[in-house]
Symmetry: C2
Subunit: 312 residues, 2 copies
């Protein structure tokens, strides 16, 4: 697949940003974040113009105590026409709890690496896909959209490089099950535009770019370059986390999710349109980072600090 000349991206094009801060970002925060703070964060993100916000996860409170208030969060979600609030569900039981709480979109989580799947989903990749089959059936019966995650699309902390074919296989299986979109996650953040291009070349031979989202981690500072690469491959859906919330469990002290404000800065610079107010977003980054007692991990949030505070 040919890459686009960056100088020719003159026409504005819409890019959809899926904000994952309230779930993926907060899930591993050791200090309890109140339900009220989570809901304030979500309301501020809506007010920034974001239309897809992963709100919480219906998982075991033992494994993710920070998500123990999932039902309360979903109950209290604001009425926001046109805004989607996917929630993570690991299995049919999680789906049923989410449905009872009022969730209208869910997400399921698979891996492209067998070792990672065994360690984090406690079964093989094939078994995890089978586990999602009844979830997808129940979801469709209830008119609920399902998003699919594939983690370790470039490399795995246990087995190293992951073959693009392995990513393609599980992405196609999730698409065949009925996921409307497959989010491809570079969980370690170890990819560069070369390995990301190899992976996307393989996946895009089987699935259209419109059904793929990029989920990049900035552990090694490559996320923005990888998103630029994915844009050149035609991807127009990207996950990101306000303030860069969510670290990397495999490199303590390192960055995790790419910061939403860094992604928006890139998109603005490249002439893409995403409908997100950057000043409000930077103020939101400082708000949630302040609640967590630290500074935002994002370069843009720090560079625009003065502007952000005048816009709070």
């Amino acid at each position: 697949m040919d890459t686009m000349n960056t100088s020719q991206t003159d026409l504005p094009q819409h890019v959809r940003v899926v904000e994952v801060g309230p779930r993926d970002g907060l899930q591993n925060e050791p200090q309890w974040v109140s339900t009220a703070t989570k809901l304030t964060l979500i309301e501020r993100l809506i007010n920034c113009g974001i239309r897809d916000i992963e709100a919480t996860a219906f998982v075991s409170p033992k494994r993710a105590p920070q998500m123990a208030d999932a039902a309360e969060v979903v109950h209290a979600l604001p009425a926001a026409p046109g805004v989607h609030f996917p929630v993570l569900v690991p299995n049919l039981r999680g789906f049923e709890t989410a449905l009872a709480a009022g969730a209208r979109e869910v997400a399921v989580f698979a891996a492209a690496s067998e070792s990672f799947s065994q360690r984090h989903v406690s079964c093989s990749i094939a078994e995890s896909v089978e586990r999602f089959r009844p979830v997808l059936q129940a979801a469709h019966a209830n008119d609920i959209r399902v998003r699919g995650y594939v983690s370790c699309v470039v490399s795995c902390p246990y087995q190293g490089d992951v073959a693009p074919q392995a990513v393609t296989r599980v992405a196609c299986e999730l698409a065949d099950l009925g996921c409307y979109e497959i989010s491809l996650g570079d969980t370690l953040g170890a990819g560069t535009p070369a390995s990301v291009a190899r992976m996307l070349e393989a996946v895009l031979r089987e699935l259209p770019a419109s059904r793929i989202a990029g989920h990049f981690h900035d552990t090694y500072g490559m996320a923005i370059a990888n998103i630029q690469c994915a844009l050149e491959f035609g991807l127009r859906n990207f996950d990101a986390s306000v303030a860069g919330l969510g670290g990397c469990p495999y490199a303590p002290g390192a960055s995790g999710n790419v910061a939403t404000e860094d992604v928006v800065y890139l998109l603005n610079g490249l002439g893409y349109e995403c409908g997100i107010n950057l000043d409000k977003l930077v103020a939101t980054a400082w708000f949630i980072a302040g609640e967590l007692g630290r500074e935002p991990a994002s370069k843009v949030a720090r560079a625009l600090k003065a502007r952000s505070f005048s816009n709070r």
Copy 2:
């Protein structure tokens, strides 16, 4: 100019990294860094495999007190065959002092923005070029290589966007004067691959990529994506600063120079060869950051912390 398909960069190609940490990185450090520490840093950088290290600046100690030991640093530089140690000189007097101290390569500093030139070089762009003419003449008479910097090649803190034609003009003037290489600096770090591409398209119509270096700041987290863009335009010389030393005077608390270790990680991932040992470089980043009482600004240094310490 067509960009390269990143997936086709299979053949190893050499990229030259010019380390600017000891000068550009340390120059604005408020706390005095001892001459011994500066020299240890330089020795460690050589030991990483770096062959171009900007060592110091022969400028007024009033304007840059951290560079007050320039002559001592140059006197004590290690005998390192094949390693170049450019030193910054603002004018003929600075050049003569540098020459007397034993410098064998110098760098001069111009701007692509009139406002920036007036504020930081205290004269117009044209006057600054004229001021360099006797420097270049004296340098050539003494067989001294001269590197030229152009700052604000994308935008300027005082006048906003900078026209690619303005960058091209001053770059050509420095090349005509005899600078062997022109380092184009995105001083604010505000560029994205779109604005960087527009700028490089203009410059490369007049000068070959082999005479151009990219000097990117990571203030908004775009440096790695901009370097990737510049690589696609054929640039093979990049300035970088170990540990991301050197902040941004226009955004206090924000990042400045792109970190050398992030650049090396990108180059390794893309299959370029730069001759730099990443583990040793990360250990060097932690060494100098520790001397300054903080953590490295680089994502790679933080992600590879465990490895770096085992290689110290």
